[in-house]
Amino acid sequence: MTPRIPDTHAEAWALLPWLANGRIAPEDREWVEAHVQTCAECRAELAAQRMVATQVTRDEAAAPQTAASEEQRSFNKLWARIEASESASMPISGTGAAAGGARSSRAVRWLAAAVVVQAVGLGALGLALNGSNRGGGYETVTTVDPLTGSRPGAPAVTLVFAPNTPINTINTMLEHQGLSIVAGPGLQGNFKAELSPDAVASGATAESVVAVLKKDPHVTFADSIAR
């Protein structure tokens, strides 16, 4: 590639601002500096541009800085907006924007952990019940899955909770309805919950609890699962 040898006054003149600010391209610096050495007009213009640069920089330095508290307040507003957006995208985990996906995955992991704890507890309860059943010398109609607490044939519902619903609120809601989560979350943030034998004995059905849950602001989706 043949080196570019521009030597016109106009080209050098146009590049003087970047000679003044020190950001002129390396391939231009040498010839522009050489031209300035021989051109009084460009020397005067370079001096003028350096003065402008100095003045602008001084003006910038003298400008009142925004208070750190104001910057933090602005950032907090932005962060709240990000959180709100990512919370809103939670039910479509895996299909939303990258940010929403990350947010959702964290929330889902947290809920999943809660479900695991709950399932382990139910599993232990199931094992205990099995043990007592054996000791009692009679068979139960259903067998509790020791890992999930699921009972084959138990009335079940699918649920999606509203974003940011506290785990305590979810647990209270489930307890009131006689529900226990046995699976989830799915790709859409959905959980499977089953009615306890006591709830069934008291007349609750999947359809009846779905009707109640649909009115709960902490539930964005509820439907019965056909057995």
Binding site: W13, A14, L15, P17, W18, A20, N21, G22, R23, I24, A25, C39, A40, E41, A44, E45, A47, A48, Q49, M51, V52, A53, Q55, V56, T57, R58, D59, E60, A62, A63, Q65, T66, A68, E71, Q72, S74, F75, N76, K77, L78, W79, A80, R81, I82, E83, E86, A97, A98, A99, A102, R103, R106
Partner: protein, 202 residues
């Protein structure tokens, strides 16, 4: 994801293109793990710079925060898409510039180039020559169309190269040179000392 109060240690730092490597690291942390502390730090690196730049663009004070936050909303959501073909600062300031133009359109504000120049508003009686020059320069800058003003601000205040200014303003390099050429000519009309210097022709 609880909101943490992360104070930015670089709030008053003068950021220049040489900070690109460390800022790219922050961006990678944002892209990789949605790191709030990295995001806060990057936000702080640009908050003052963008505030001043947007004020120079005549963006209304109440719109400046919105423009900055819109810009960093894009940074947060598109961090993984930044390919590094340009300086990170070029990318971020370019986003802010386009958002600011939208804000100006929304506010039906226009550059003040056509406004009459009130020379009486300059306090030439100041004993401080520098202060006088600064006042003249501020008035001169206000006379410039926004595109010329931005070319000058990006070059002198933020220290960008011609190519970087072109990338930020999304225009050819020659357009940047032309805008700055015209800006220089306008400033000479209002800044007496500047005109005197350029008049020292051989």
């Amino acid at each position: 994801m609880p909101l943490q109060s992360v104070e930015n240690p670089n709030t008053r730092a003068v950021a220049t293109p040489v900070n690109d490597a460390s800022e790219r690291e922050l961006l990678e942390r944002i892209a990789r793990s949605k790191d709030q502390a990295a995001f806060r730090s990057l936000y702080g690196n640009y908050y003052q710079r963008l505030s001043r730049l947007l004020a120079r663009m005549s963006v209304r004070r109440e719109d400046i925060e919105e423009v900055i936050n819109d810009t960093f909303w894009v940074v947060w959501t598109k961090a993984a898409e930044f390919r590094g073909a340009s300086q990170l600062s070029t990318w971020i300031i370019g986003i802010a510039y386009r958002r600011a133009l939208n804000a100006l359109r929304r506010a039906k504000l226009r550059p003040v180039a056509d406004q009459p120049f009130d020379e009486d508003s300059v306090s030439v009686g100041s004993s401080e020559e520098e202060e006088t020059n600064t006042q003249w320069l501020s008035l001169g800058l206000e006379r410039l169309p926004v595109e010329q003003r931005m070319a000058l601000e990006l070059t002198y205040t933020l220290g960008h190269s011609c190519e970087e200014v072109a990338a930020i303003l999304d225009c050819p390099v020659n357009t940047v040179k032309t805008r700055l050429f015209r800006a220089r000519e306008t400033l000479k009309q209002v800044l007496p000392e500047l005109a005197g210097m350029s008049g020292e022709k051989s």
